[in-house]
């Protein structure tokens, strides 16, 4: 479980299928050195979490780290 700015990424569950990277409407996610990294600018649309087939990425709730 690796926290990013707005998402929590689970490196054990993740299989690097890159659905979250491609589904993101503002392209803040990317795969760098085999890890999912996040840039600034997340609009909290939850698309990555909804489309992830491996339950490997979660958008943090507003109260958590916002």
């Amino acid at each position: 479980m690796k926290p990013r700015i707005n998402v929590i990424w689970n490196e054990i569950y993740c299989k690097r299928c890159l659905i979250c990277v491609e589904v993101c409407p503002v392209q803040v996610l990317s795969l760098e050195r085999n890890e999912i990294e996040e840039k600034d600018g997340c609009i909290r649309c939850y698309q990555c979490e909804r489309y992830c087939p491996d339950i490997a990425i979660e958008v943090m709730d507003e109260k958590g780290r916002g």
């Binding site: 054990i12 569950y13 993740c14 299989k15 690097r16 299928c17 890159l18 659905i19 491609e22 589904v23 939850y46 979490e49 909804r50 489309y51 992830c52 087939p53 491996d54 339950i55 490997a56 979660e58 958008v59 709730d61």
Partner: protein
């Protein structure tokens, strides 16, 4: 966002064994979400799965589950539903399992219409065995066993399952998520056999051969191939995502007419004594009267008393209250006949 659906998944077994980007993970997740929303749990739900990649879905769910032999999830599910009608039964399987090996079971289970819900992960190929052409492979698709393109037309599950009402057939895809969730929810709530045909991606064994690099490119391909249709439909065309459902039109039964005989007040009835009653035994053209519970009935119309003084064991012209009580028939046989008087004293 509600993440309580994770209670229904065996997270200690994760990551699951499916390939990166496989649509079965999305099916598993969304089915678990829908079941959790309906507040079904491990106490009232059974998952049945067949053979194939999708057969592992029941193993990752925190429910009582059966993993059946090739093509037999529907038989097992119908048996469970017959023996324990209080349980909710869901079938998690694939197109190769339900459409080809278990095709005959699909026909006859849908005909018998048990209250089970089938989730068919339709990736249009035999995924587990390496990407051979399956029953739902579209015509012209290059697969492991058809390198020049599949020469035969696919099995149209939608047409087979919507041939006669009642039916519930929904086609959806893992890309159209909101529609996908609606279909799952409606199928779970449908009373009867409901079938959800989920167009899913097999990127490793099908998509790469078709020229897609990632699972998301296959999703976009689904978006080009299919479009969502709204409203209630009888049938779905091959490029439509939607819900086709129909109920049997029940013919209302004609209401049975109940003849209400006007009740005659007992005071206005003609009084008889037992001696007078004995004369009416049917002899010499007289009517046949009997007494029952203080009232006198005219049994002349009875076929069994016709032309005879007595009918096997009942004697005409007598009080038959005790006889009728021990007789195999009930007292309603007497009430069919007209009331003519009462017994005095």
């Amino acid at each position: 966002m509600d993440r309580s659906y994770k209670e229904l998944l065996k997270l200690r077994r994760f990551p699951h064994t499916w390939c990166p980007g496989c649509g079965i993970g999305a099916v598993l997740k969304n089915v678990a979400m829908a079941i959790k929303e309906l507040d079904w749990n491990y106490k009232n739900t059974v998952a049945v799965s067949g053979i194939g990649c999708s057969g592992r879905m029941s193993g990752y769910m925190n429910l009582d589950a059966v993993h059946t032999p090739h093509g037999r999830p529907l038989t097992a599910a119908e048996t469970i539903k017959t023996v324990r009608p209080d349980l909710n039964v869901i079938v998690l399987s694939g197109d190769g399992d339900l459409g080809s090996i278990g095709g005959n079971h699909l026909l006859h289970t849908s005909r018998r219409n048990p209250n089970i819900t089938v989730f068919c992960n339709d990736n249009e190929i035999y995924g587990l065995t390496g990407g051979q052409a399956g029953p739902t492979t579209p015509k012209g698709t290059k697969t492991l066993t058809s390198p020049r393109g599949e020469p035969y037309s696919p099995l149209r599950l939608g047409r087979i399952l919507t041939q006669q009402p009642p039916y519930f057939y929904a086609r959806t895809s893992v890309y159209h998520l909101n529609h996908f969730k609606t279909c799952i929810r409606e199928a779970l709530l449908w009373k009867g056999f409901s079938f959800v045909d989920i167009i899913s991606d097999c990127i490793e064994l099908n998509g790469r051969r078709l020229g897609f690099k990632t699972a998301y490119q296959m999703f976009k391909w689904f978006d080009q191939r299919f479009h969502i249709v709204e409203g209630e439909r009888d049938h779905l065309q091959e490029d439509e995502l939607g819900i086709a459902k129909a109920l049997v039109e029940e013919v209302p039964k004609p209401a049975e007419k109940i003849e209400v005989k006007p009740e005659i007040p007992i005071e206005s009835l003609k009084p008889f004594t037992l001696e007078e009653l004995q004369q009416f035994d049917g002899s010499g053209g007289k009517p046949i009267y009997i007494a029952y519970k203080g009232k006198v009935y005219d049994l002349s119309g009875s076929l069994l008393f016709q032309g005879e003084k007595k009918m096997r064991c009942h004697i005409a012209g007598k009080d038959l209250t005790k006889d009728i009580d021990i007789a195999p028939h009930g007292e309603d046989l007497v009430f069919k006949f007209p009331l003519v008087g009462k017994i005095e004293g």
